[in-house]
Symmetry: C2
Subunit: 441 residues, 2 copies
């Protein structure tokens, strides 16, 4: 069991370099920036996670600084020296270098300043280059940290990770907004959610989760919609009330943020101090009450009584922050007519469902709820909606042969990342976004 092969060179985190103070080392990475001073030059090396200050001084360094170009892949040989004025508290005094690869063209935009000055479209068009900026790159390192934190939490809480198919026969939600494809001469769709699969699996593993792509062929191009996004989906059996699911999500986010602040401190430091929210005491408010409160507080007419407008979500969030101090709000008791056929209605009022959304800094990041586990109830609700249970025989086989009371949720990974870093558009937090206008890179 050898989990640490391939590390004959120094991994360039500050901690690792500190261990080599006053020693000769070799370190590889990309030339990020060359700054000529009087009598010497700073060469900033970009490694997997850090920027390392290196010093080139004629006399000590055995190669001319002119051989270096930005974006070259190099191995540097030199001595680690304490240097209080550098960010890491140390620097590398360069002796030799080996150039492994050289670019044939310069970066089309400036990438080695604090941030990349470019429009969102340019940023994405040039992703392979713009992500070399350490602030841009940190977004996706933090996104990795979110996934790791969530998975850690879920494994620890006895969830089983599954891989369900994305090519499906029919969708969990309505037939609109689905991408169609030709599947060996048959009509097929790209899934909007692993909903059916995760529900079926509660009868097998009791608790399951999946982090994978889902698809929405929505024609509106907004700052919050993507055609393809990464959904963190979970489903758990043997739940009693909706609060079991909401509590699990709060615990999961709490664990994840704590994990981030520990294991991704480097990237969070690049972004600054004001991003990590508290997850303690998330307020909870029924949909109808939230609607009314926003309407009254902001003197807005209610035009759609069944759903939130994006602006209402934003205002609700602002208001709850003021009232409770929380960046998160659980909204419950959404209208049955607006929720899918598998949603469980509230025992005290069948016009609303035992479901919730989680709103974070103005944006819905999660939809969740209890599901109907009883076969007869599920069939009855399908019939009431003029759906044909025959079309769902595989799904209903699970109910027929026994499913536990269960519920779950889906969390949009890009939306969560975007709001965590207060990015104004979900595309900033998507490695290679897909929308109505974009299919490349």
């Amino acid at each position: 069991m050898n989990a640490s092969s391939q590390t004959n060179q120094v991994p360039a985190e500050a901690e690792a370099l500190t261990q080599h103070l006053n020693k000769e080392i070799s370190i590889h990475g990309f030339v990020y920036k060359i700054r000529k001073m009087s009598g010497f030059s700073f060469v900033i090396l970009r490694t997997k996670r850090a920027l390392v200050q290196c010093v080139h001084s004629p006399g000590y360094t055995e190669f001319p600084v002119e051989v270096l170009k930005e974006n070259m892949s190099v191995i540097f040989f030199g001595k680690v020296a304490a240097e209080a004025r550098s960010q890491m508290g140390l620097e590398i005094r360069l002796k030799k270098c080996e150039i492994l690869s050289a670019p044939v063209a310069g970066a089309p935009v400036v990438i080695n300043k604090n941030s990349v000055e470019a429009s969102l479209d340019t940023l994405i068009d040039l992703r392979p280059v713009t992500l070399r900026n350490v602030r841009e790159r940190a977004i996706f390192k933090i996104q990795e940290g979110i996934c790791r934190g969530i998975r850690d939490f879920l494994y620890h809480n006895h969830f089983t990770e599954i891989h369900s198919p994305k090519i499906v026969f029919s969708g969990a939600e309505s037939g609109s907004d689905q991408f169609r494809l030709d599947y060996f001469g048959r009509k097929a769709f790209l899934t909007q959610s692993p909903q059916f699969y995760k529900q079926m699996m509660t009868g097998v593993f009791e608790r399951v989760f999946e982090i994978g792509p889902v698809y929405r062929a929505e024609k509106h191009n907004t700052s919050r919609h993507l055609s393809e996004y990464t959904s963190v989906d979970l489903e758990m059996g043997f739940v009693s009330t909706l609060r079991d699911i909401m509590r699990l999500e709060a615990d999961m986010l709490s664990h994840t943020l704590a994990f981030l602040s520990e294991a991704y401190a480097q990237e969070l430091t690049i972004w600054g101090p004001d991003y990590l929210p508290s997850v303690a005491n998330i307020p909870e408010i029924p949909f109808a009450q939230a609607k009314e409160m926003v309407s009254k507080t902001y003197a807005r007419e209610i035009t759609d009584g069944d759903d939130f407008e994006p602006e209402e979500e934003r205002l609700l969030s602002e208001l709850m922050k003021k009232l409770t101090g929380s960046d998160f709000t659980f909204v419950t008791r959404y209208k049955s007519s607006k929720r899918p056929f598998y949603a469980k209605d509230c025992a005290d009022d069948p016009t609303v469902t035992d479901s919730f959304d989680l709103i974070f800094r103005g944006l819905e990041i999660t939809t969740g709820g209890l599901r109907i586990h009883d076969y007869d109830q599920q069939v009855a609700k399908m019939r009431a909606r003029e759906m044909n249970p025959e079309d769902f025989q595989h799904y209903l086989l699970a109910h027929k042969t026994g499913l536990p009371p269960h519920g779950g949720l889906g969390l949009g990974l890009e939306r969560f990342t975007a709001r965590l870093l207060k990015l104004p558009n979900v595309r900033y937090a998507t490695l290679f976004p897909r929308d109505t206008g974009r299919l490349e890179p």
Copy 2:
């Protein structure tokens, strides 16, 4: 930071129950089997990962055994007692029960024996039910363990996890065998591999990986092909030779198998003792030599000198096992004409590539290799293949602005799982397989 919420009931692993010997507990799960003996009954409870022996005895137990039915979701209340003859070394003496959910129909096939006696098609048609069999279920628990082990290893070795789009403009491989879809009026494809994205990201994160779905619209229906499968893809910069990649894979598999034997012992025990292979000293053989050796040893005519037939892979594997004792074989130096345009040719012979396949128990589970990182070389190889570099401008932007020497691999998760458990068809190790004939469940 609370990673252990939602565990007010006993998690039903043997270890946890042992801690409650002679105590009153409650435990939830599914009724797996009811066996009436003379004077009492065994009720086997299926929990998230285990089967727990419970005893119903009139006089002690306060409910009639007749209220229980297989596949019910229940909470049992009772006392944990030592019992040497049970598999766990203990049993639960039932006192009360609460029935949470009852099936309206029995399982369409017998699922509570050692294995499910059904054809592969039936097994898959009835997945929501047949996976309740603990041996079937264990396949996917072990698959989860493989993913966990791999991720652990890669995080530890400074790989960054990415999420690349599955809807793409053009494919990494040739245009055939791709699923097409209508993307807001434009032609798009489902990706065959995250190849381009992971290569571009070596210039950003140096080392990246992704575990996600990929697609092949292959028309042949064999025991080794799926239309949708889960690919473990990784790419690493700053490599010197092909052996860096092969060594990394061997270390990764070694770590993963050690992790499995530790954390998934319960599931491996269900399968039996003869499954975990040794990864020490994987032999390595050039393609041409392997071809010849198989031909000579088994007196087979070589009909296709450029590629293996499936039977040749099987025979090579058998032969290498005999000669070296290894279940794995690295085959290297595949013909350039048979490898993609981004494959690096060998310095000593440009008709073959610096690439490899890993064959495990008769089946290719990995393809990997060094890639061309130099812009001019890559453009030249595209031109030689009559490809238009203009069609790959986003991809080539990475080369143009500097990529490190790099290489990587893709490992088929279902294939690896299937061969690990010696399953004769990759579908056994696919939760919900997709092939030319199957789009459901």
